[in-house]
């Protein structure tokens, strides 16, 4: 038998006669070799590093049966205009075979302003649905039974209020809080790092989060309390290793905060879930998901003393990379999205959103979102990629990349510890600078054409006419929301509303759990803006360190 090492040297010699062996990098800036072999995974130990699906360290998947037992949830992030407009879109998506809901809120809702606030002018219903009170939420889920469907809500600073609205809608439908299923994003650390939709400073924000963890473990046991998100970190320009490391570092920070607040790690950790990006480099992305599972399981067990298996699992949602879509030749985005979605599936995702081709131009049209959903259905039912669990395991390249990403993440954890932890590193602008630098490097590569973006810096069509219909939101939405708010404020029991707000204020000033107070405010039809204003008074507002 031929010695593999010498064989490799021989091959390399032949290869380098006509071809450069180095100089090829991926979008993360990682140098990629033309060939990987046994020498690249010499230290790999199957039992220790991989294990079987559903077995520690869960590298191959968090469940024994994975997609053979249950396909991923097809969950298109969606919301625009009024609650009525979005309710119609949800019914459309459910009719087309979508299996879970995912709510996109407009910027005023995300930032805790009512639709009639001066800062909301021009933004109402634009990039998501406008929700001002429980009234809007009742309309949003009209004829959608909350005991049948699970709902993910992309909401962070005001996550407690939107969760409260959802629980109240359930109450009205006769579905108790222990039966509702879903997710709030509720990941404020990545807001400071990347998505930048913050309201309060880190300390009170972390307190709200631990209140939610405690409340849900007693009253909303099927709810995913934090969706620890790398998606936005990546969209802001990070590399794959940075996405992996910063996301998991945020996750560990929540775990430490929960433990510090006196909670049993095995009581809240099983309800933590994750949200990753699925970017351009097919293999690196798959390795990233595998590394995430392994790192999280090891740390949760070894460092945080979790004993329950559910506490060790990286259950995650994936979204294809919005930042890779192009305004030029938008139909090409269908293909980009399909490849990215496939890496999410091969990486063992539990839930998936596929972007629509028109999202660099506007919110998706019905036609575009249907194609995006069909992309997932094609993957699930035609390509056969869901038939075998973790099919790329054992590949020299994939296992090498998985190890590499783990190593790089560990190096970042050390660096973050040296800086004094995640919150301190945010204050110092560490993550923000790392991400801005990576984004700028990538942009320069595109401009130097060392990275090709099809339709943008190569394969360009001169004087291209873009010929797809786009969705337009008009100012009717802002008018309607403003009128509805006026009506709400004149019809509700204002005495009860202000009593509830006073109780929230005094709870915020003390240490009692805020969730019951927020639920009382919701039931009294206090608006989101009213609740946030009370907390802004008590907690103050965050100011960002400016770095680029």
């Amino acid at each position: 038998m031929k010695d593999t090492k010498n064989g490799s040297a021989e091959w390399e010699k032949k290869f380098s006669k006509t071809c450069e062996t180095s100089g090829v990098t991926n979008p993360s800036g990682r140098e990629i070799k033309p060939l990987y072999g046994p020498a690249d995974i010499e230290s790999l130990d199957y039992g220790r590093d991989l294990g079987f699906p559903g077995e520690y360290p869960f590298t191959r998947g968090v469940y024994t049966t994975m997609h053979r037992g249950r396909l991923w949830t097809m969950r298109q992030f969606s919301g625009f205009g009024t609650a009525r407009d979005s309710n119609q879109r949800y019914h459309f998506l459910l009719d087309r075979g979508q299996t879970g809901l995912s709510v996109a809120f407009d910027m005023p809702t995300i930032m805790g302003y009512d639709s009639d606030h001066v800062r909301s002018h021009g933004e109402v219903g634009m990039c998501g649905v406008a929700i001002d009170s429980l009234k809007d939420m009742e309309i949003l889920f009209d004829e959608i039974p909350l005991d049948k469907v699970s709902t993910s809500m992309t909401i962070n600073a005001p996550a407690a209020m939107l969760l409260a609205f959802y629980i109240c809608v359930g109450e009205k439908q006769g579905v108790s809080s222990d039966k509702v299923r879903g997710t709030i994003q509720n990941d404020i650390l990545k807001e400071y790092i990347a998505q930048k939709s913050w309201i309060f400073p880190p300390e009170p924000s972390m307190r709200i989060i631990t209140d939610i963890l405690a409340f849900c473990s007693d009253h909303v046991p099927k709810w995913n309390t934090i969706s620890i998100s790398g998606y936005h970190i990546r969209e802001a320009g990070s590399t794959a290793a940075q996405e992996l490391a910063f996301t998991l570092a945020d996750g560990f920070t929540y775990v430490e905060a929960g433990i510090k607040a006196g909670l049993d790690v095995d009581k809240f950790a099983p309800r933590l879930s994750f949200f990753f990006n699925s970017h351009l480099d097919f293999f690196e992305e798959i390795a990233k998901y595998r590394a995430a599972r392994r790192i999280w399981a090891k740390r949760m067990k070894e460092k945080y003393g979790a004993r329950k298996e559910e506490s060790l699992l990286v259950r995650f949602h994936t979204q294809t990379a919005g930042c890779t879509l192009t305004a030029q030749q938008p139909e090409n985005n269908i293909i980009r999205t399909a490849y990215q979605a496939m890496s999410g599936v091969l990486g063992g995702t539990q839930s998936l959103h596929t972007n629509s081709m028109d999202e660099t131009l506007a919110l998706p049209s019905e036609k575009a979102v249907q194609i995006a959903l069909r992309t997932q259905q094609l993957l699930a039912y035609e390509t056969g990629v869901a038939n075998t669990i973790d099919p790329l395991a054992g590949s020299y390249y994939i296992e090498h990349l998985t190890d590499k990403l783990e190593e790089e993440a560990e190096a970042y954890f050390e660096k973050i510890d040296d800086l004094g932890g995640v919150v301190k590193a945010i204050d110092l602008g560490f993550f923000q600078k790392e991400i801005a630098d990576a984004a700028y490097r990538y942009q320069r590569e595109i401009e130097k054409k060392t990275k090709i973006v099809v339709g943008v810096n190569d394969f360009v069509i001169d004087d291209e006419e873009i010929d797809i219909d786009i969705l337009r939101i008009d100012y009717r939405v802002e008018r309607e929301q403003t009128e509805a708010l006026k009506k709400l404020r004149s019809e509700r029991d204002n005495g009860a509303a202000s009593t509830a707000l006073d109780a929230l204020r005094s709870a915020a000033g003390g240490t009692e759990n805020l969730m019951p107070r927020i639920l009382d405010c919701s039931r009294a039809y206090c608006t989101l803006g009213e609740m946030i204003d009370v907390l802004r008074d008590v907690f103050g507002e965050y100011k960002e360190p400016i770095v680029y």
Binding site: D106, G122, K196, L361, A436, Y440, V456
Partner: protein, 134 residues
Amino acid sequence: MERKIRVLVAKPGLDGHDRGAKVVASALRDAGMEVVYTGLHQTPEMVVEAAIQEDVDVVGLSILSGAHAVLFPKIVDLLKERGAGDKLVIAGGIIPEDDVEELKKVGIANVFGPGTTTTEITEYVKKEIASRSK
């Protein structure tokens, strides 16, 4: 010595997408301009105040939430009100073609959409400012 071109890169509105604004700010800086970045969540009044305080030649606005149709014209109006209507105002973001025409009518000199290179922006700014100082 020739005065460097001074640019304010601003994020009016509520959206937190600052990747584009920061990339453009870095590129303008690397092209030899003095760049001031406002940070996020600015009101039109805050942007105009900063533009005047910093005595900039150029105001670059970025919005990705759809609020451009309201906020950009407001900024242009406020600049005029405060006697600073001569500044070059340019913009970028997720801005549909129909809106671009409207924005140009109200005084946004140019709108740079997705896929624009930073070189196009820096060259444009240099050329415009040079033609103005003639």
